[in-house]
Structures are given as structure tokens and as C-alpha cells.
């Protein structure tokens, strides 16, 4: 717990000093969102229909964009090595990393979601569904992104490889989340999809940090 708090506070200080790290993925998210209406044509009906897919694809791309730097600096500067050598509880460090990365990349997306709904012409029911699926789904994005970042930590061409490894694992999430928003915009019940998303989140929350831990130790050697 002490370790978690220390790592968390350190992470926030770093984020406050390197604003580009979390601001750039957010700007990327907004720009990707504006590309779709311009590329596909801004007919309101069409936009509302494809909005769930657009929002989710933009969200997972922006999480992926910020993922590579998650452990990179700590690895390069030897912080990770010190943590392993000092036999500190590395799991607390991993959890602090994941939680703070969620706060810095996904939480702003949640806060921006009314604006996004407005831009893409979603009604309030669909917006609520977007909000709920983002709330349940984005921690999963961050968890898996952390796994990808940890696996490719010492790889030669980590960036593109990270995307190749993690995007396939995002597919089930994308399917259920956009199905939920689709249902909501048709005025149907979408609690089933939310239940599946929660189940996936619980499973990932229990297992992924352990896999991240293993991958980090592997790369530090």
C-alpha cells in the first residue's frame, strides 16, 4: 500500500510536468473523431448510426498511442531495475501505473463524452450508453495496453509491434461496446452487453496485472 501510494504520487508529478504525454493522445482522439465526418460525409443520420464504432475506435487508438511510453522511461532510466533489485512490491507499482494511466487517458474521454455526443449527433440515451461502456471498457483498454507495453519493453521496434499484439485483444471489447451503444440508440435494453463488459473487466483486473508483472521481470532480466 505504501508502495502503491508512493508510485501513484510519483506518477502524478511526472504527468503534471510532462503535459504532452497525456494531452497529445487526447488531441489525437478529437482529431480522429473529426476525420470521420469529413471523410464519410456529415449526414446526421449516417453519423449517429456509425458514431459508436467511431468513438470506440478513436478511444482505443488514443489509449494505444499513450501506451508505449508507459514503462519506457522507467526502463531506460533504470528505475525498473532498481525496483526489481530492491525487492519492492512490483505489483503495487504496476497497479499504480495502470490506475494513473487510466486517470490521465480515459477519464478525460469520459468527461468529454457529452461534447462527443453533440459532435456526432447522438441523443441522450445513446450518450448514456457511450458513457457507461467507456466507464467499463476503458480500464480494460489500459490494462491490455500495459500488458503490451510490458511485453515489448526491450523489443527493437516496440511501437508498431505493441499495436499488432494488443489490437486483436481489443476486438471483443469493441464488439460488445459498440453493440451496447447501437441497442441504446434504438431504444432497446443493453444491460446484457454491459454485463459481458463487466465480466471481461473483472477477469482482466484479476489476471492482467500478474501477466504485466511477469513481462516486466522478463524484460528487466
Amino acid at each position: 500500500m505504501v508502495m502503491f501510494k508512493a508510485a501513484f504520487v510519483r506518477e502524478w508529478r511526472l504527468l503534471a510536468r510532462q503535459k504532452a504525454d497525456w494531452l497529445n493522445p487526447l488531441m489525437f482522439f478529437l482529431i480522429v473523431l473529426t476525420l470521420f465526418p469529413l471523410g464519410i460525409g456529415a449526414k446526421p443520420n449516417l453519423l449517429a448510426e456509425i458514431a459508436p464504432g467511431i468513438i470506440w475506435i478513436a478511444a482505443l487508438l488514443s489509449v494505444l498511442l499513450g501506451a508505449e511510453r508507459l514503462f519506457k522511461d522507467d526502463f531506460r532510466q533504470g528505475v525498473l531495475e532498481q525496483l526489481v533489485a530492491a525487492e519492492q512490491p512490483l505489483l503495487a507499482y504496476v497497479l499504480a501505473k495502470i490506475v494513473s494511466s487510466w486517470c490521465s487517458t480515459a477519464l478525460p474521454l469520459l468527461l468529454m463524452s457529452p461534447l462527443i455526443a453533440l459532435l456526432l449527433g447522438l441523443d441522450s440515451a445513446a450518450w448514456l450508453a457511450v458513457l457507461l461502456t467507456l466507464l467499463l471498457g476503458t480500464p480494460l483498454l489500459n490494462l491490455l495496453a500495459a500488458l503490451g507495453a510490458a511485453l515489448t519493453l526491450s523489443a527493437d521496434k516496440g511501437g508498431i509491434l505493441l499495436a499488432l499484439l494488443i489490437l486483436p485483444l481489443y476486438i471483443p471489447l469493441l464488439i460488445f461496446a459498440s453493440a451496447a451503444v447501437d441497442q441504446a440508440s434504438l431504444g432497446l435494453d443493453y444491460s446484457g452487453q454491459l454485463a459481458v463488459l463487466s465480466a471481461m473487466l473483472c477477469l482482466a483486473l484479476a489476471l492482467v496485472p500478474l501477466a504485466v508483472l511477469k513481462a516486466l521481470k522478463l524484460n528487466v532480466g
Binding site: L147, L151, T152, S154, A155, D156, K157, G158, L161, L164, L165, L167, P168, L169, I171, P172, I175, L203, A211, K214, A215, L218, N219, G221
Partner: protein, 249 residues
Amino acid sequence: MFKWLDPYAKPETLYRICGLWFPWLMTAAVATLLLGTVWGLAFTPADYQQGDSYRIIHIHVPSAIWSMGAYSSMAIAALIALVWQVKAAQWAVGAIAPIGAVFTVIALFTGAAWGKPMWGTWWVWDARLTSELILLFLYLGVIALSGAFADRQTGAKASALLAIVGVVNLPIIHFSVEWWNTLHQGATITKFAKPSIDASMLWPLLISILAFGLWLAALTCLRLKTAILQNEQHRPWVRQLAASAVKGE
């Protein structure tokens, strides 16, 4: 049990075992493959609805089954590699991955070729097809990750970890036809009840499934042998082997 199994994990012993098994496995695989496909493609009766085009199941079903079978064997090897630090199991992960990927491609391709005349489309985004496609991506990810590190050892371990994570996809593929309303049909022969396929078509299919399994095992032996030689190239026994091979010529 580990006392009994442990000597077989020694690279030198494993190399000899693979060399010993490979010819038998390959002969059996070629024989059953010929028997199963020739019987299935030429001598079984045509389907009353689909005519002759159903015959592709004699290739499609075995490759699809073993695309998943290869993944589970790879994941088991990966688990052994990470938990008990058995190096030979690490190399087995790298040996199986490309074979599994090719089986997956065969399953996807034959499915598409059958889907065009039967469903009227090469591809639909149904759960079975999509999850099989994800399986292909997982295989490619494992292959890409194992080659991405300057240190071969780290690459092998990292790809083993990824292989274990990807196991979540296997039950999704298997149950996709039950959990969702898919265009892809349900299981025909894996249920406990009487199979919903006539015996005249079932037997060649079962032989083909056996053949693809043997083929997978044979190719794995061959690739594992190469992997052992590559990874152990500085060891005396490999040098001796190479020296005697040169002398023999």
C-alpha cells in the same frame, strides 16, 4: 512424474526423440492424408443439397480443429516454459506457431471458398469467422514478438506469455456457434449424441482429422529439431553432430 519426464526435456535427448519419431509420424500423416482426402473427395456420395461442394469439409474441418489444437498445445508448452523454465518448451512454442498460423489460413481460405457458392459471399462478420481471424492475428503476434528482441531468450519468453494470454480466445471460437446466432453451422461431430452426418461421410472426415493431427505432430518434430540445433549450436554435442555429418558426405 517429473522425475520420469525430466530427462526428455534435455535438448540432446529431445533432438534424438524428434529425429526418431519424425519419419514415422510423417509417413503416417501422408498415408492418412491421402486416404482421407481421396476417399472424401472422390468416393463419398454427394450431398443432397450442396452437391459436390460440401466435400471441402474434408480439408476445412480438420484444419480448423487443428488450428485450435495447435494453439492449445502451444499454450501448454508456453505454460511449461514459464512455470518450470524448460527451455525445450520455449522452443516448442516457436516451432508450433507458424504451423498453427498456416492451418488457420487454410481453414479461413477453404471456408471462404465454400462460402462463395453456398452463402453467396466470401466473408461474413459472424462470430465464428471473426474469432478464427483473431486466432490468426494472435499467431502472427506470437511470431512477430518472438523475433523482435535482440536477445533471443527474452523473445521466446515474451511470446510464450502472449500465447498464454491468447488462450481466452479458444473457448470463444469453440462456443461462438452456440452463444451467437451465426451463419456458420453448429458442431456436427463433436457432440456426444449421434453425429448429424452420415457414416459414409463421417469416416473419411475422421481420418482426415487424424491425418492433420499427425501432420501437425510431424512438422512440429521437424521444426523443433531445427530450433534445438539453432539454440544449442555452441554445445559440443551439436558440433560433434555437424562434424560427423560433414565426414559422412
